[in-house]
Amino acid sequence: MKVLALSCWLLVGEWRARFMQISVVIMAIALGVALGFAIHLVIDAAFNEFSAASKNLSGQSDFQVYGKQRYFDESVYPELAKYEGVDLANPVLEFTVSVPAEYRGEGDHPLKILGIDMFRAADMSLDLLGISVDDQQMDGLSDDAIFLSPAAMEWLRVKPGDMLQLNVGTQPLVLRIAGGVTRARVGQRVAVMDIGAAQWRFNYLGVLSRVDLKLGVGIHRAAFKEKLEQDLGEYFYVAEIADQETRVASMSRAYRVNLNMLSLVALFTGSFLVFSTQALSITRRQGQFALLRVLGFTQQQLLRQIIIEGIALGVIGSLVGLLLGYGLAELVIQLFDGDLGSSFFPSIQPSLHFDLYAGLFYFVIGLSVTVFGSMLPARSMLRMNPTEGLKSGNVNRAIERISMPWLAVICLIIAIFLVQLPSIDELPVFGYLAIALLLIGGIGLMPYLVAKFFTFVLCSITGIFGYERLHTTTMMALVRLANIPGQASIALSGVLVSFSLMVAMAIMVLSFRISVSDWLEHVLPADFYVRAADSGVAGGFERDEQKAINELSEFLRVDFLRYQQLVLDPERPEITLIARHVDMSDVRKTLPIVGEIIASDQWSGNERPVWVSEAMVDLYGYTVGKQIMIPLGGALYPFVVAGIWRDYGRQFGAIQIQLSDYQQLSDDWSVNTAALWMQSNITVNDANTALQQLTFGNTLEIMQSKAIRDNSLKIFDRSFAVTYLLEMIAVVIGLLGVAASFSAQMLARTSEFGMLRHIGVTRSQILVLLTTESCLLTVLGVVLGFVLGWSISLILIFIINPQSFHWTMQLYMPWGWLMLIAGIMLVSASVTALIAGRSAISGNAVRAVREDW
């Protein structure tokens, strides 16, 4: 009981004495936990809502049958309905239409329409069915009616009874809004109509996008699946709902994991702050602890005392963090719908749930980081003989023991080894481990490096100038830094971690941005891009329209592009097939090729080339020269991979083929997009007018390539907004760390300053000394942080990005930005030192020294 009372008394006493520093530590922990928790909650909520919405669209079936192309011939439906073991077959036609331009917004989100057979869908417990209003039950079967979810009505600013104007190819289509949709998710933009009406009105005659199957009682699922797959042939997939979930999850998984990792960085930075503050606190209280030991406290009791302090800090910090995090998540969801600017979860409105397990997880992480940060300095400290501790001047010996250069070197070596390893389950686990080890190793090596560096500087300066000519304060600062590197490096660890992370992120984001910008230049060479709404399975421009566009005299050259979605693996999201003219003599000019290509002269006559995006290499194992099968027009055809190109637009993979090959094999002569190059003597306005004056001009979506580029970069910047925010918070925590450790040091050095003043050093000289010291330290921290950050950026650019998102990029250095941040670091560190120093030397010199005797 007495020990407990003493323990409380010590704790309260210590906290009362160092209220500011304790608050800073708690704040750092809280911020770290809050960020991690908030990000987790937001993306989890967004993901759950997104999955729920996808599940809504897919209903509850035992199996889903779909084709390698998005649409397949409906003749398979009666076969499936009559197939042995099938209790119910539900045909579905799922497609999207682009909405009128005024509702389109930046994201270019189309409206998803489900064409359903309401009798089948109801038996299949599909969630989305039309609800008629005004006793018009027939509307569910009507050939001109469409049902919109509440979110879709709000989006398109319509209500039941209104008419909805859409385009099918270059033809306008008007549908009557007959009512709402059952069980649509909040925010889910979806429309439902009769499957027969949808096929007719939107030009999808004869095709379906999937058939849901419900099996009879007692049918062996695995055997059924195997037999059905065999009977349907390789053009079809038979998937379970679980596969669909995997597919949905895999769409955003890399993004979610990376964002979570990033959010942990703040916590990681915070842990260094705890470490440095606690280390200094323990150093300062060395006398106190020694006294307690002499009075009969055992080592264990002291350690326990320090751990209790750590736990108290951790519990308070983590709890505050959880509350803060929840509030932050709520705010983010209210303001940004949980999309976090990424466009990974478009048009949903997630609702937040307090995730108890995640809460516990972040609480435990926050707590353990704090306890660990407290224990590390305490253990080495306590190994000392108490009588030594009672004497002053031994403060630094304790810290020196923390420095373990060999361990740090091992960390660095392991990190270098780890970056060689491939991803686990498509996640860059080793990349992140390597980054953590780099940081730990870098910090572990700090005291050693600081000592070596400043000894070297001191020696060289004195060697050149001699002691006499060197300024006293500079001299004193250098001598101190060279001989007591431990304290200095503790102060630096915060700076180092936050600066290096910032450098890393800045390099990565800039490299990415410039790469994307270059890529956009490359893939959008034309002046104009003109698009028409899809006309069912076909692209919006049929041959007549293509001819009309080709005949426009304002344009020098016209290229047509045909886009289609393919499913090459039922567990992965759809890939994009792009059919366009590729100049065989100069492929690199058309496509942003990376690496080798098979040149046109190496090409044998009957082989057909494809160029695949980098993602296809990672996800499907395609390599140059490999023969692959591509589904076109309802059958599979062989192609040979002729090259690999970079694609930032389609993370799940894309394939380019010659338009002529496509047309020959699929007999589909429609296209989706026309790329137009203006005649040199034509203005943008003239070109625009010429396009609008086409007979189908008012249904066209005309885009200038510059506008597309600008818009793409805007979306890019927005998707990194969260990254910037996290980075900023890491810096703030780092700076807090600097402030905390400097002020702690200043207090600890009160007697040193008293002594200095006794031997004639003036107050202002001491301040200069402090500023010089902190400047020199920060410069070193910034330089080391830069080296560390640069290494981390290499991991981000060359390991983590390709492994997560399957694209590569070039390295670019944001020098200006780096300089700016370095300057801010330097100034703020010096100012903090100065402020802390002023309070440390404000007292009476005599009293300050007296403490020692």
Partner: protein, 367 residues
């Protein structure tokens, strides 16, 4: 006869589930000239008129009967296939275009169970999965079907959620044309009518899968085939209808349409004796009088389950096989009516077995 078309609640079906009954009701009252109209001039022609008449808005084949298992247990059964033209999609080339809907109802009345069990199915016709073919009775809805074979025998197979049956129905008598040579009036207006013929005294053989057992059954059944584009008077509230296979080989069909204001709006009866002589009865010669009512614990509706029926100067008493033969499908199609097997008595003698249909007792007809 008119079956259960009209009494169902036509409120907004808040469930997304489509209400076929509402569809049919709206069809019955719609004055849409796109559909063929009935005419007293028309002569029914067979085998053509066994088959479907897609130009008319609605049509049904309706079979009811009594079955006896090998251990002498009695069961009532009912199976109905409806066809309805939606009037939509006339130009739609899609094979999914819902131009015609096929609807099936099946029910089994088991005294041992104390209530009626029921299932239903609705589909658009197409892809050979659901159809009502012309030229012969050939209606199908997935694996439910009713087919008239070349020897005149009907076969039907039903796979409901809780039961199944597979029955063969052999005619023992000629076709019975209802009304005036198959033109059956349903109200005071001349166009309130349908084409209507019956096949009474069908001999049934087959199997019923029920409560986990496959039972061999035999019995007697009655088939109605009726089609029209509009039938009911707007003042109608519901109807009482009964068909009876009498033990002496004669058959009886009686119906009345009740007015919303109470009383009889229209009635009619047909009787054919064992020798094949047919007698038709006018509205004023037909009278239904309730003898015992039963209050449904499910819907609180009160049905006159025991009736005295007077046709001309003959009187019969109808006693239900079991009271609870109410069909309550409000959770899905909103249909609620009483349709049950009845024993027919004359002077305390059991003279035949039939089926009684009572509609419009839960909610008055609403438009």
């Amino acid at each position: 006869m008119l079956k259960r078309f009209c009494q169902y609640n036509l409120r907004i079906v808040a469930l997304g589930v489509f209400s076929w009954s509402a569809l049919l009701s709206s069809a019955l009252f719609a004055e849409n000239q796109r559909f063929a109209q009935v005419s007293p001039e028309y002569t029914l022609l067979f085998p053509r008129d066994y088959g479907a008449h897609p130009d008319f808005r609605i049509e049904w084949w309706y079979v009811t009967g009594w079955l006896e298992t090998t251990d002498n247990q009695e069961l009532g059964f009912q199976v109905t296939f409806f066809r309805t033209a939606t009037g939509y999609h006339s130009d739609n080339p899609s094979r999914f275009a819902p131009k015609q809907l096929i609807i099936a109802h099946a029910a089994l009345s088991d005294p041992a169970l104390g209530r009626l069990i029921y299932d239903e199915k609705t589909m658009r016709s197409g892809f050979g999965l659901a159809y009502a073919r012309e030229g012969n009775t050939d209606v199908k809805l997935d694996n439910w079907y009713l087919l008239r074979e070349s020897d005149g025998r009907y076969v039907t197979e039903i796979h409901a959620e809780n039961f199944a049956f597979n029955l063969s129905l052999m005619p023992t008598q000629a076709i019975l044309l209802q009304g005036e040579n198959g033109f059956s009036r349903k109200g005071p207006e001349i166009n309130q009518a349908s084409y209507y013929y019956s096949e009474p005294q069908l001999k049934v053989l087959g199997k019923v899968v029920h409560r986990g057992k496959t039972l061999e059954v035999r019995g007697h059944a009655w088939l109605d085939h009726e089609w029209s584009s509009e039938i009911l008077d707007r003042r109608a509230e519901g109807w009482d209808w009964v068909s009876v296979n009498l033990n002496d080989g004669s058959s009886l069909m009686v119906f009345q349409i009740r007015s919303k204001t109470g009383g009889k709006l229209w009635a009619n009866a047909t009787r054919r004796d064992a020798k094949g002589r047919v007698t038709y009865f006018r509205s004023d010669q037909v009278e239904f009088s309730p003898k015992r009512t039963w209050k449904s614990p499910h819907t609180k509706a009160v049905y006159p389950v025991e009736m005295r029926v007077r046709v001309g100067d003959t009187e019969w008493r109808l006693v239900p096989l079991l009271d609870d033969q109410e069909l309550d499908a409000r959770s899905s199609t909103r249909a609620v009516y009483w349709e049950g097997a009845v024993t027919v008595f004359q002077d305390r003698r059991r003279v035949g077995r039939g089926y009684l249909e009572l509609t419009g007792y839960v909610q008055p007809l609403k438009l």
